[in-house]
């Protein structure tokens, strides 16, 4: 027998001025099943809630309607109050007679009539509310961080410092990412490795962090709080337990002319190598394609010379599984491929700049390595072609970015800042040199950023030309850069010794396949999609998977670090309880009725609907059915609308409830 209590609020004068609250209470009190219908000045106040609680007990209420403000204001308040008296919170509904009535209608008669309708709708609905229990999902308190750049490192350290285990997977032989290869960082001109390597060491030594380098995520199964992740540890051919990192092997290795990935092709490395001296872990790997033993079965010098017997040419890839509760994706970025080869039809190369044709046309990361004190030229700025010091360097902005014709449409965000930085680093080393920057706009919106750019121009004499470059050719060993200065209204030709192209930041290779494994969305450029660009920039639509850093969109180091800590915070929120509780207003399938067409599964934006089998005691298949995973369902109801047989319904907004609301208006 339903016993509904209705509590109509005056809200001081806010409702009572335009709605005859007492009349509403009286009219509603006459409806069947309404046990009590009272009005009070301030329902949300302590005495107001006390009235409700008292009535719940004295009238034995089975459902409550509070006619007052928007549910977005106080639904949680009233539900909590009901729960404290032992009434299931999900049989409490609200009728919005303030924002949707008293505040927008001034004819008291009409407004009161409308208010009565609205309350009657809520009573009709609540008669069909089900008592619901919060959904409890166990959570494995181990986090997976994918990507060991500065964002991954920050997230891993934060979570590990909070006392939880972290598995950090990095595809390269060492963590550090792009930041480890930078020379100095804006706007402080801090030495990049100096500020990063202590963090890297912390990660390597942290008792809570399990580091898998030279590894990739192979598969992800499970869901929020209960992931099972398969990781492929690529064959290093070096036994990590035996190796001491002494370096005898890479000194002995005769295979020298391999282009160094860490130096972006500006330098070389051996076949057995540590990517850079401060690598974590400081243990080498063997590049199977460059190793003479592995390709031609000759040499093997490293094995002979290794005092620890750590070389193992029979090494194989290893697959391991880790139990994980939350995933943080921090896969970082790469630069736009400026040369002719592109990875898809929509992006084209920039043949007009001669990258790949002229040795002295390089990109910004390559320039960082040239400037870096620990780089292939030991910090001396040299032309790749002849090793001479360039007296005139041109930096070109927006290569590949902000280009609707053949590049990506977005702004790469950091290039204006690092171009200014590059002109300064150049000038600090080549005092009689001249830096030129061809730009479209200057984007320097961070703290001390604009001052930084002005410093490059005013103190370090960088010449800025507002215009694009149309073509770069080579005459007599000089690069002829033809551009324009739109502010002066003249074409500009610069004879440069070196040209540095600020190529657009793009997501790292392979991120789309990884996103599919995680059920995370990505946009047309491959950047991973956040749940909401403004209010939920760290969460994704896959519950328990978070993103941070450049994989979500172009950004600089401070932003990446901030996002990484935010992601860690989200993970710690998940881990701070024994179980995760979720709102139970989720979808539920009537498995008897379901025809297993799985239209719902296809429509679900959160992949929350599984294809399940129902088997009898002997294991024979009785039927297939759709089944909602309450751990993942976000309660949108798209499945309900799409189901041809109406076999799935949404708690809190069931078919019966909604029809009842409409029918009550007759």
């Amino acid at each position: 027998m339903a016993r509904i209590g209705v509590f109509t609020c005056w809200c001081g004068e806010n409702i009572a001025r335009n709605v005859d609250v007492e009349k509403v209470a009286e009219a509603i009190g006459k409806l069947p099943h309404v046990r009590c219908s009272v009005a009070y000045k301030y329902m949300c106040s302590d005495p107001g809630q006390a009235i409700m609680r008292e009535k719940i007990v004295s009238e034995g209420l089975t459902g409550v309607v509070v006619a007052s403000c928007s549910p977005h204001m106080h639904l949680k308040t009233f539900r909590k109050a009901a729960e404290s008296e032992g009434l299931n919170p999900y049989v409490v509904e609200m009728a919005n007679i303030r924002e949707h009535c008293s505040w927008v209608h001034h004819n008291k008669e009409d407004a009161t009539r409308k208010a009565i309708d609205l309350v009657r709708m809520s009573v009709a609905k609540v008669l069909r509310n089900h008592a619901l229990d919060p959904i409890r999902v166990p959570v494995t308190k181990r986090a997976l961080v994918i990507g060991g750049g500065v964002a991954g490192i920050q997230a891993a350290l934060d979570i590990a410092d909070a006392g939880h285990e972290v598995v950090l997977v990095e595809r390269d032989p060492s963590i550090g990412g792009k930041m480890a290869g930078l020379s100095e960082t804006f706007p402080t001109l801090d030495c990049s490795q100096c500020i990063l390597t202590p963090r890297m060491v912390d990660v390597g030594q942290h008792p809570n962090i399990k580091l898998h380098t030279y590894s990739e995520v192979e598969a992800v199964d499970g869901y929020l709080g209960n992931f099972k992740v398969t990781i492929r540890k690529k064959a290093r051919y070096v036994d990590m337990d035996k190796c001491t990192g002494c370096g005898i092997c890479w000194n002995a290795c005769p295979s020298k002319k391999n282009l160094s990935e860490f130096d972006f092709g500006m330098g070389t490395r051996k076949a057995i190598y540590v990517p850079f001296p401060q690598a974590v872990p400081a243990r080498p790997v063997i590049d199977a394609n460059a190793c003479i033993k592995l390709t031609k079965d000759k040499c093997g010098l490293c094995e002979k010379k290794c005092p620890a017997g750590a070389i193992n040419f029979d090494d194989q890839d290893e697959l391991i599984t880790e139990e994980i509760g939350a995933v943080v994706v921090a896969t970082g970025y790469k630069l736009y491929d400026i040369g002719k080869e592109q990875q898809n039809d929509k992006l084209a190369g920039y043949g007009e700049y001669g990258y790949g044709k002229y040795k002295d046309v390089i990109d910004s990361l390559q320039f960082e390595r040239i400037v870096s004190a620990s780089g292939p030229t030991v910090g001396e700025i040299q032309r790749p072609s002849d090793g001479k010091e360039p007296k005139s360097v041109v930096f070109i902005s927006c290569v590949g970015s902000r280009d609707n014709a053949k590049g990506v449409s977005y702004c790469s965000k950091i290039c204006c800042m690092y171009n200014a930085k590059h002109t300064m680093l150049y000038k600090h080393k080549v005092h009689d040199g001249q830096a030129h920057v061809f730009y479209m706009d200057i984007r320097a919106g961070g703290k001390n950023y604009d001052e930084f750019v002005r410093r490059a121009i005013e103190q370090d004499g960088a010449q800025y030309h507002r215009g694009r470059v149309s073509k770069i050719t080579e005459e007599n060993g000089k690069l002829i850069v033809r551009g324009v200065d739109t502010l002066a209204g003249v074409p500009v030709t610069v004879e440069a010794d070196l040209v540095v192209l600020a190529a657009a930041m793009r997501p790292a290779d392979g991120v789309e396949q990884l996103a599919q494994k995680l059920n995370v969305g990505y946009d047309e450029f491959g950047f991973l999609s956040e749940s909401h660009p403004k209010l939920r920039p760290i969460e994704t639509n896959a519950a328990g998977v978070f993103v941070c850093g450049a994989c979500q969109g172009p950004k600089d180091i401070p932003e990446s670090v901030a996002q990484a800590s935010a992601a860690a915070g989200k993970v710690m929120m998940m881990f701070s309880r024994k179980e995760l509780t979720r709102e139970p207003e989720v979808a539920c399938v009537n498995e008897q009725n379901c025809a297993a067409c799985f239209a719902c599964a296809r429509a679900c934006p959160f992949n929350a609907i599984e294809q399940a089998e129902i088997r009898d005691r002997n294991g024979n298949l009785v039927k297939r059915t759709a089944r909602v995973n309450p751990g993942l369902c976000m309660g949108c109801g798209t499945c309900v609308a799409i189901c041809p047989s109406k076999s799935v319904d949404l708690e809190g907004f069931t078919e019966q409830q909604i029809y009842a609301q409409v029918e009550s208006l007759v």
């Binding site: 002719k340 084209a348 920039y350 043949g351 050719t473 080579e474 005459e475 002829i480």
Partner: protein
């Protein structure tokens, strides 16, 4: 091989030497040219500068005629013509309404299915191997600067031919025949185009730069595949010399001239003796 042939105004007019060259060369290669009967002007720059519809209608008429006359491939040796024909093809194929409208205007059905080729593409279709088979001379005395100009490779989305920033199709062909094409910086820079009469200064300036750069990079001749470029670089060379007080002495050949030489044809047959700048 039997293909349609659209000479355009230039080849029947002041660039008659280009037609001689193309016809002579292709005859040896066994390519039968069937000229489109009753063809009209393609519109060139004038049409698309003034009226979009006219710019489609003029080539559309030619395409319709080609289709009616049973041609599947159409050689248009002038890049301006080939570009206008290709663009009209694409516009008509993509827009059913436009197709209908054009059919009404040109009074013929037009499908937009004819495949329009430029001179380089014809040689590619014949195939380098076949040309080498028929060649009787090596081109090793020639160190050409291959000049593509504006229209052979642009607009890239429409033409989809070669690389628009660093093209190499002419070099590949000529290298195969023994020549030593040089690498230079003005392959796709404008020669001044149709401004020969209306803005002579610009033409002289731009063409002078092209000739200079070619020489600076060691070329002993220039190779073009466009009658307009030929006029600006060859016919106007004397004016350029006078204006800039230099002596370029740079012979400008059509691509078909060099291929013709390789096939054993002489300057007379190819119309080379009608060029303004002669080889010393």
């Amino acid at each position: 091989m039997d293909i349609g042939y659209y000479p355009g105004c230039a080849l029947h007019g002041s660039s008659n030497d280009y037609e001689m060259s193309v016809r002579a060369c292709l005859e040896v290669l066994g390519v039968q040219l069937r000229e489109v009967d009753d063809w009209i002007c393609c519109g060139a720059t004038a049409a698309h500068s003034l009226n979009q519809k006219l710019a489609v209608a003029l080539p559309a008429r030619n395409l319709a005629l080609a289709e009616c006359q049973g041609m599947q491939d159409l050689l248009a040796p002038c890049p301006m013509c080939s570009m206008e024909l290709i663009k009209a093809n694409q516009a008509i194929s993509a827009d059913a309404k436009l197709k209908k409208e054009m059919a009404e205007i040109v009074e013929l059905k037009v499908e937009g299915k004819v495949s329009v080729l430029n001179l380089i593409q014809i040689f590619q279709q014949v195939g380098l191997d076949r040309i080498k088979e028929l060649a009787v001379k090596s081109l090793d005395e020639f160190k050409p600067a291959c000049y593509y100009g504006c229209l052979l490779t642009r607009p890239p989305e429409a033409l989809q031919f070669d690389d628009c920033e660093q093209p190499s199709s002419m070099e590949t062909l000529l290298e195969g025949l023994g020549a030593a094409p040089i690498d230079w910086n003005y392959k796709t820079e404008c020669c001044g185009a149709g401004m020969t009469m209306s803005n002579e200064d610009t033409v002289l300036d731009l063409s002078h730069k092209i000739l200079t750069n070619a020489a600076d990079h060691g070329a002993n001749c220039l190779v073009v595949a466009c009658p307009m470029c030929h006029v600006n670089l060859d016919m106007k060379q004397a004016d350029i010399d006078r204006r800039y007080n230099v002596q370029h002495d740079m012979v400008v050949y059509y691509l078909s001239d060099l291929v013709g030489f390789a096939l054993g044809l002489d300057e007379q047959r190819l119309g080379v003796n009608r060029h303004f700048v002669a080889k010393h």
